[in-house]
């Protein structure tokens, strides 16, 4: 084995420039893999985790509401949320459960009822402070305490020209379809980092109940899981509670759009990695094929001297691995530094690209990477994989060289 290694190392140095280029190819592939994985993980952990907070780790709604959810159907409400809240709160794993109403409204700060649309949310104060950290996202003012107060996002403020202390008029509908207007004083402005998230307006639960004319109920009851417990398991336990039978109870990642989104992210990562590995492997393949071709006569001599099939194959693969180790280490170093210094600190500004996303997926305009040690190991291992894939065909070719024919071979 040590002889094979010596031969492999000698061959690597024989054409140093070519070996270096191949190593560079592998290092570039590895670096791209690290950057890609760090960024996707950043999107996933950042946006998905944030999204889960906004939609609730576990949620209970009526099945009819679930079926028409994109229209915020107020008439499909839970008429009395008290028993539902109690049932969810007593489910193992749940740290808090809250009724919540979401309704589409038009908003105006001027004399004319305008065409600015927003989403009005009414929930208990604890949901805003303990889970949404809305108070920490305020740029001005405070949270709403009274029923005629509202906290609005910067997008709404920009669209309507509303300022702190100003009165705005929101116009929604009751669950019966009657017009439901209200005058609210802006007591706070918030910035949650994305234009979609900043289109919401937060009021007290009582105000939302009055606007929707749902005195004791809400459109949904959202619950939050404390500790490191799989949300789906908690949701499954909640579904078994008799008080929640007849309701649609799901974990956030069991609901649209997250259920398809999480699958898509995994697929994107796998496809991206596959493409990078394939392209880099093609480069390695090219290098190793040239190397084997140039040494056809030499390999023939070695075979004639007694080197069997398997060691010949291993020798060629070792050459590629040696290059891959160097390239992989360089790639991991460069990729790791870039991911740490640039992606984690400065992020990538997606700008207008995130505007069309549903507000349930709160991807910020600037997305930061999330570098993990596992990504570095994965990239290095994939670098070796690139070498293995690229070297296999040339290795098989080298192993198949007939000594007599090889010795007759002239370059």
């Amino acid at each position: 084995m040590s002889l094979l290694l010596q031969l492999a190392m000698r061959n690597v140095q024989r054409n140093a420039r070519r070996s270096l280029l191949t190593a560079l190819m592998i290092s570039t592939g590895a670096a791209f893999l690290i950057l890609g994985m760090a960024w996707v993980d950043g999107v996933f952990k950042g946006a998905m985790a944030k999204g889960a907070l906004f939609v609730g780790h576990v949620r209970a709604v009526t099945p009819a509401y679930s079926a028409k959810e994109q229209f915020f159907p107020l008439e499909e409400n839970i008429a009395d949320t008290a028993p539902v809240v109690a049932a969810l709160a007593s489910t193992p794993g749940i740290a808090g459960a809250y009724p919540r109403i979401q309704m589409g409204v038009t908003v105006t700060a001027s004399e004319e009822i305008g065409e600015n649309f927003g989403l009005l949310v009414g929930a208990p104060d604890e949901l805003y402070t303990r889970w949404l950290a809305l108070d920490r996202s305020l740029t001005e003012g405070r949270l709403a305490k009274a029923d005629d107060e509202v906290v609005i996002g910067l997008t709404i403020a920009d669209q309507t020209g509303a300022k702190l202390g100003q009165e705005i008029v929101v116009l929604g509908q009751t669950q019966d379809g009657s017009m439901s207007p209200a005058k609210l004083t802006v007591v706070g402005l918030y910035d949650l980092g994305s234009a979609n998230q900043n289109k919401m307006m937060y009021v007290t639960l009582e105000k939302a109940r009055w606007l929707a004319d749902i005195p004791d109920g809400a459109t949904e009851v959202v619950a939050y899981v404390g500790g490191d417990v799989a949300n789906e398991l908690v949701a499954a336990e909640a579904r078994a509670v008799p008080a929640l039978s007849g309701l649609d109870v799901k974990a956030w990642n069991e609901r649209a759009p997250f259920d398809s989104f999480t699958g898509v992210i995994g697929t994107i990562q796998a496809i991206t990695a596959g493409v990078v590995v394939l392209i880099t492997a093609l480069g390695v393949l090219n290098t190793m094929l040239m190397s084997v071709l140039e040494r056809t006569a030499e390999i023939g001599v070695l075979r004639a001297m007694g080197m069997r099939l398997w060691p010949t194959l291993v020798m060629v693969v070792m050459e590629a691995f040696a290059i891959a180790v160097v390239g992989g280490l360089i790639g991991v170093a460069v990729g790791g530094v870039l991911a740490w210094a640039w992606l984690e600190r400065h992020g990538i500004n997606l700008g207008a690209a995130v505007k069309g996303l549903p507000s349930a997926i709160p991807i910020n305009s600037i997305v930061y990477g999330d570098l993990q040690a596992s990504q570095l190991v994965t990239a290095f291992v994939l670098g070796l994989a690139m070498a293995l894939v690229g070297a296999l065909l040339p290795a098989i070719r080298a192993a198949g060289i007939q000594p007599v024919e090889a010795m007759r071979f002239r370059r």
């Binding site: 008439e75 009822i113 008029v169 019966d176 379809g177 009657s178 017009m179 207007p181």
Partner: protein
């Protein structure tokens, strides 16, 4: 011979009900349902599934296109006013002291969650002007008989491009209507009943409109103290009236 001639004369001059033409029928229907001015109190009961909401309104109408409504009950909606003129409608919301203008396709939206659109509620247009009709026969309806008339809109921008109406031959009130979309889909049915003599016309004091697109949804209008050709101040038919 004289008896034979007498019978022949009676038969020749008799006007059986089925001999009435569609224009004649529509003219009498319009005479019953349209007015120069009208004032009434209306109770509107909206039923959606097991939820029932009751509104009480005071309504003024002038001609075919002008109408004003003020909500009296429930307390939440008291003081809400609407004024309609031709193709625009203004809605006054007392709780926020704002006027909302509703125009264009929005007029065909549901009024206060009912099965009536703003257009349905606040206009009284003559069918003669809007529709061409075909007599589709006679059918029994209630204690009497009705003409069944298929009405097709003359203009593409009419809310209901097709109506099938059953007009009571005794009262010339359309006791039953089917309202269709351009696609042929049945949108609503509109039944009229409790017909009374009011100022020389036959007027239905009760109407029930059922949404055929949304199951379990219906709206009933019950009219009280209906008066026609009343003197209504011009101001009532203006946007100024809304904020008073």
């Amino acid at each position: 011979m004289r008896l034979f001639l007498a019978v022949l004369l009676v038969l020749a001059t008799a006007s059986p009900a089925w001999a009435a033409t569609v224009p004649e029928i529509l003219a009498k229907v319009d005479a019953n349902l349209t007015y120069d001015t009208r004032e009434t109190t209306v109770t509107m009961t909206v039923t959606k599934g097991d939820r029932v909401k009751v509104y009480k309104m005071h309504s003024y109408g002038r001609g075919q296109d002008e109408g004003s409504v003020e909500y009296l009950e429930p307390a939440r909606d008291k003081g809400t006013k609407m004024y309609r003129n031709a193709s625009e409608l203004w809605l006054w919301m007392p709780s926020v002291e704002k006027v909302q203008k509703i125009s264009g396709h929005m007029l065909r939206q549901s009024m206060m969650g009912s099965d009536l659109s703003y257009e349905d509620m606040m206009q009284a247009q003559k069918w003669q002007a809007l529709y061409d009709g075909t007599l589709a026969g006679e059918e029994a309806c209630g204690a009497g008989k009705c003409w069944k008339i298929d009405l097709k809109a003359k203009s593409p921008d009419i809310s209901y491009p097709r109506r099938v109406v059953w007009v009571d031959q005794a009262t010339y009130v359309p006791v039953k209507q089917e309202l269709y979309a351009l696609s042929g889909m049945l949108l609503k049915t509109w039944d009229m009943g409790n017909v009374k003599d009011v100022a020389g016309r036959k007027y239905p004091m009760s109407m029930t409109i059922s949404d055929k697109v949304q199951a379990g949804s219906s709206t009933t209008l019950t009219f009280e103290n209906v008066t026609f050709s009343v003197k209504v101040a011009d101001e009532v038919f203006s946007a100024r009236w809304l904020e008073r």
